[in-house]
């Protein structure tokens, strides 16, 4: 069973549903070290993406449409970051209606690169990269989907011990310690859903 445009549509629908469910928890996390809107951004972005991908002929078209829809619905920090991530995923998926499941971890690698590129972020700065980077590293090393998820999760958990040096929380100094980065937490949700549907 390949990863098809139909599966891709399902993936974004699942992401929209998950983000709606996590919205208030993500907002609460963002309220501790940011501006309390991360859940809203992720919900609206994924909702827009899910609406945009339906009925498009190729995975590349779908990911590009998702990128644009996410960006236009959200703005904020998450918008450009995930828009770039999804455009990289589009490039990796290519102009085809399906891709072999075995290739799908490559999407995680592409997305992580897109985020790092757009945000100029490195691991350890208490951002979503702290979930995306270890997930991508695991994917590169050929790890299984459960291991990719576990790597992301461990990375996100680790952000609680980090002092933010990038993004809105960077001005908090030591006050950002003790709270997980909301972007890293929502990144885990995305990677989890990918594992469920692509794995």
């Amino acid at each position: 069973m390949d990863f098809t445009t139909e599966t891709c549509t399902q993936l974004f629908q699942a992401l929209a549903i998950r983000m709606a469910a996590e919205r208030d928890a993500l907002c609460a996390l963002d309220g501790l070290i940011g501006d309390a809107d991360h859940g809203i951004a992720m919900e609206q972005g994924m909702q827009a993406a899910a609406a945009a991908v339906a009925t498009l002929p190729t995975l590349q078209d779908q990911f590009n449409a998702a990128a644009k829809a996410f960006l236009n619905a959200v703005g904020a920090s998450s918008g450009p970051l995930y828009a770039t991530a999804l455009m990289r995923a589009a490039k990796t998926a290519g102009p085809r209606a399906a891709m072999p499941r075995a290739e799908t971890p490559g999407l995680i690698i592409a997305m992580a690169e897109g985020i790092a590129h757009r945000g100029k972020a490195e691991p350890g700065q208490k951002t979503m990269i702290d979930a995306w980077y270890p997930a991508a590293e695991a994917a590169k090393s050929g790890a299984s989907w459960p291991d990719i998820v576990a790597a992301a999760q461990a990375g996100a958990d680790g952000t609680a011990q980090m002092q933010a040096t990038l993004g809105r929380a960077a001005r908090l100094g030591a006050r950002s310690l003790g709270h997980k980065d909301p972007g890293a937490v929502s990144a885990c949700v995305i990677i989890e859903e990918c594992a469920k549907i692509l794995g």
Partner: protein, 332 residues
């Protein structure tokens, strides 16, 4: 927790419904160029640098209230506390540029920088030069001026840039004046309560009664520290101490003052604070050239206040006094 008390219809539609109301209330000032891109009816013209401002919603009258002849030509409107995406910024620029380039101005936030930078790249592809001046007036947000947030000082900084553009100065000059305005503007604030997003209607942070957050950002980002709620004079003194120290203005200098409410702090309290600010300025030998008192840069219903000083020079004085006629702000 019960949802916070708001007069809205649908949290997800709050920004767009607000814009409908804004356009209906100010038909002589504003018009819609594209979704989330509002432009001044008067102002944009051939040969003039287009000043395009923008940022998240929830700070009204910042940003959209400062669009009008003599100030900003257009605004890109984001979701609540969220930078607008690139498209409205591009649309705003395309609708107002007069062949003399575009100046983007907005507060220095990671999200805004990423989105407006994408907008600049998109404009470049259209052959339109866009420069950017970030505002960084919040002295509580970093010891490094370049890393600071832009907060209420936007009002003065945008005003000076808008005047420069209205005077038909070239892009490089408008940019220079905008940078100088930003460099000479200093803000610090305190929050006495949280606010809530229309989508969640939950308080965005927890602030026990009897405490205040010092150096609070305008999105409820935590400030420098928590402390006991102090008297108006003590709060004014703490902020003035910090600003006067940074500003290091020689006696005899002129300043503009913005005594700003973050939302629900009423004029009575602002004027009580201002009384002390004026006293402190007098003691420092500084002259108040002009003062604004009111809700100019808010965080929806947050309680709290900020003080902004702009250390004037002759050029900035002229720019500040230059007439402007916006939907929610007028000078001259």
């Amino acid at each position: 927790m019960a949802p916070t008390q708001k007069l809205i219809n649908d949290g997800n539609r709050a920004v767009d419904e607000m814009l409908v109301g804004v356009l209906a209330a100010h038909p002589n000032h504003l018009t819609l160029a594209a979704p989330r891109a509002i432009v001044a009816k008067h102002g944009p013209r051939p040969g003039k640098v287009a000043l395009v401002i923008g940022g998240g919603s929830g700070h009204e009258p910042t940003f959209l209230g400062f669009v009008g002849k003599g100030l900003a030509d257009a605004v890109a409107v984001g979701n609540v506390f969220a930078s607008p995406p690139p498209q409205p910024a591009v649309d705003a620029a395309l609708a107002t540029h007069g062949g003399a380039g575009v100046l983007f101005m907005y507060g220095n936030y990671a999200g805004d920088v990423m989105n407006f930078d994408m907008a600049s790249e998109m404009l470049e592809m259209e052959g339109i030069e866009a420069r950017t001046v970030l505002t960084t007036d919040d002295i509580a947000s970093s010891s490094d001026r370049l890393k600071r947030r832009g907060v209420a000082g936007n009002v003065f900084i945008f005003k000076c840039a808008g005047a420069a553009a209205d005077l038909m100065l070239p892009l490089a000059e408008v940019e220079r004046i905008a940078r100088n305005a930003n460099a000479r503007t200093y803000t610090m604030g305190v929050a006495l309560s949280a606010c809530s997003l229309p989508q969640t209607r939950r308080l965005n942070f927890d602030l026990p009664a009897g405490e205040m957050e010092i150096g609070m950002g305008i999105h409820g980002e935590p400030g420098i520290r928590r402390g006991p709620l102090k008297s108006a004079n003590d709060v004014a003194d703490e902020i003035m101490d910090a600003i006067l120290m940074e500003m290091a203005a020689p006696a005899g200098s002129k300043v503009a003052v913005l005594m700003n409410s973050l939302g629900s702090t009423p004029l009575m309290e602002l004027y009580i604070l201002y009384a002390r600010v004026a006293e402190r300025l007098g003691q420092a030998g500084l002259t108040v050239h002009s003062a604004l008192v009111g809700p100019y840069c808010t965080s929806m219903e947050m309680a709290g206040a900020s003080i902004t000083l702009m250390h004037l020079d002759d050029e900035l004085t002229k720019m500040l006094d230059h007439p402007c006629d916006c939907a929610m702000f007028r000078v001259g």
